[in-house]
Amino acid sequence: MEEILKMRNLKAYYFTREGVIRAVDNVSLSISRGELLGLVGESGSGKSSLGLSIVRLIPPPGRIVDGEIIFRKMDLLKLPEKELRNIRGKHIGMIFQDPLTSLDPLRKIGDQLIETIIVHTRVNKEEAKEIALRALERVGIAPDRFDDYPHQLSGGMRQRVMIAMATMLNPDLLIADEPTTALDVIVQSRIMDLLSDLKRSMKMAILLITHDLALVIERSDRVAVMYAGELCEVGSSEKVSQEPLHPYTQLLLESIPNVEKPRTKLIYIPGSPPDMMNPPAGCRFWPRCPKVMNMCKSIPPRPLELDGRMVRCHLYNGGLESGG
């Protein structure tokens, strides 16, 4: 399948007064046309920073330090701001966690859709309105909502509007940052159905950023697990869910409550995520890892290619120093 986006050794750091936070550290990841890639991680693992880095919108004092982001044969990190602006919203769509605050509260949703179309294409207002109405129809919003203000819509409807806005210009890539976290379970499932439909019908690549591993396993083609700014495992949803390699992924999977096995103890991962300003030496997960070895505490594991997957763990290079 055609790779639509390829990140290589991406580093995005926040330079705060207290120190440097390595939110995204040496991340390499690619996503193909028509693929739904789930990026999972705890709060503060750097997954949202990764999403924002792709379109170079990481807020100050954050900055992309190194790496490359190849999108349709262009390096987004080397593109002038003006050309990048044309890619944002047209070729790469983005939706956010809170659909209420992601819309300008003072303008009708229709006007916001039209504005986005007009800045990216050469159509007039009438044609833009037609495109906008069609996009709303595709996400299941009635045309009479066109002149509504954001506060007049429900949470689920607002997220549909956001999706319509992000996908109406047929982008190659949709970055969805926690798109369902602020919504209830039923609405969440409908929004995910909608994203799956769009992926199929428009051959769109979707990067789904979430903390919800169960959702990712259920919905995505591939899974990338992020911990403390690094990817610790990447593989197909099937393989990752059935035979997780990294101890962190294993613990995450075990901690998903299962309704079919009642009265089992709720499993959780002991400890707390590392201080990103001073991450542990060696593997960043070792203080919480049940399978920790001596070398984990001093030598950072390299990413290993194994069985069509990536894993960053010393368990899989026979305990030998360095490897892939």
Partner: protein
Amino acid sequence: MTSLKVFVIARLLLVIPTILLLVSLVFFIMRVMPGDPVIAIVGMKAPPERVLELRKALGLVDESGNPIPLPIQYLNYLANLFRGDFGRSLIWGKRPVLVEIMEHLPATIELAIAGFLVSIILGVALGTLGGWKGGKTNSAVKIYSAITYALFIPWIGMMFQLLFAVWLKVLPVGGRIDPGLEPPMITGLYLLDSILTGRWDSFVSALRHIILPSLTLGLVISGIFSRVARTSVEEVMRQDFVIAARARGIPEHRLVIHVLRNAFIPIMTMMGLQLALLMTGAILTETTFSWPGMGTFLFERIEYRDYTTVQGTVVFFAIIISLINLVVDILYAYIDPRIRY
């Protein structure tokens, strides 16, 4: 009926009790102030006929000299106001207060508009710049706000007079227009009237005279605007929709309009509030630049203890300010659909 129309009607009805409360307050405050106003005006040694005459003029006693009870005085006062009768001046020909106000009002309105424009342009532009750029620009705007807010109008006015009128000799020291160039009266605003009648010499003269006073007044008020604009732009910039709009590829020059519109409610509240300050500021500015407006007028009549004129002017201002607040509230609802409850 649309929700905006309902809001406007409800808000209009609310003006009636507001103005009633304001004019009542003025009435009772004037009555509880210590000292006899009549004695204060004419002095202890005035002949009794003069004192009686004044008491009649003030509505304190009836034709035969018997004191009128306070509730009746109050009702008379309200009835007169309702008819548009603000009383008559106690000095110089005893002209109706409203006529005198109307003679001086256009000069103040002209100065207030010019000063307000200066302050909004300076304040909102600098504040937006600071909030938008952040960092060092933001700190510079902070310092600007603090300094201009602390300026004393007569002092900065005199500095301008010294620099532009005395040393550089490019602008007049004071006054409103060169003598003899007054344009024919249409609105009373010299700049507007001279344009309407095509009197360009009057226009240039009026413009030259208004520059320094409006700059003085505008500069001082711009400090508050830049402060409010800066903090509210900063706050809006932190909201998700800004990053969402950037992620849609909305160019910065369009985004700034979205941000400003969202930041505008606090700025507009401040504008409404500042109009009151503008009036006090106008008094100081007018006396500094011998500007023949309400400020100079009120200042002069307080000195002469022209009791009815002062009371009438205060009531007039109270009504004007409550009407300004009405307009501001309606503008809110127009800008922010969430306010139309």
